[in-house]
């Protein structure tokens, strides 16, 4: 049982790390602010989600697992709203030039 949980953790956390790498590569290679924003938020949120789910089997207490989920949801929500705000700022400043 322990081994199965560890394997799940390794697979999910590795996938999360891979998405973080993909997000960083997108960040470095994409041509324009909006595309970089897209790569950053989508891929890093996915990376964080996979890491959170990978960590869930390793946490002993139920409160800890709950905290992990709450933190993930909070970062998701605020990340979504803030990326909308950033995109608005980009569009507004783009219209001026």
């Amino acid at each position: 049982m322990r081994l199965a949980l560890d394997i799940i953790t390794v697979v999910l956390v590795s996938a999360g790390g891979f998405f973080f790498m993909a997000g960083t590569i997108g960040l470095l290679r994409f041509p324009d602010t909006l595309t970089r924003l897209h790569a950053l938020t989508k891929v890093d949120n996915l990376g964080l989600g996979l890491i959170v789910f990978g960590l869930l089997p390793q946490v002993e207490s139920r409160l800890g697992a709950l905290k992990l989920i709450v933190i993930w949801l909070l970062v998701q929500m605020s990340g979504a709203i803030v990326s909308q705000l950033i995109a608005q700022a980009v569009r507004r400043s783009g219209r001026q030039t």
Partner: protein, 97 residues
């Protein structure tokens, strides 16, 4: 390699990805690109801290991740303020105050 070592390596890897991403963002031509770094630190830093919390078996580190997630949001809003204010004036006005 135990699961703890794996989690610590994963934390270091995500941190490295965040570091590389930061380099690009802060180079970015417009001010808005720099604000992307707030998002990056937000989801990346939270991922690193959560991995460290489970890897070092110190649950209070999750509180630091919670604080980081919230603060990244506040800081993004604060940093966007000038962008929003400067692009909401019409080209005919010369002063902001």
């Amino acid at each position: 390699m135990t699961i703890t070592d794996f989690l610590l390596v994963a934390a270091a890897f995500v941190l490295l990805m965040v570091a590389i991403g930061l380099a690009r963002i802060l180079y970015g031509p417009a001010d808005v690109d720099r604000i992307l770094s707030v998002q990056l630190i937000g989801s990346g830093g939270v991922a690193v801290l959560l991995l460290l919390s489970v890897g070092m078996n110190l649950p209070p580190i999750m509180d630091v991740a919670l604080m980081l997630g919230l603060l990244a949001t506040f800081l993004a809003v604060t940093f966007l303020r000038d962008e929003a204010n400067s692009s909401s004036i019409s080209p005919s006005t010369t002063e902001e105050r």
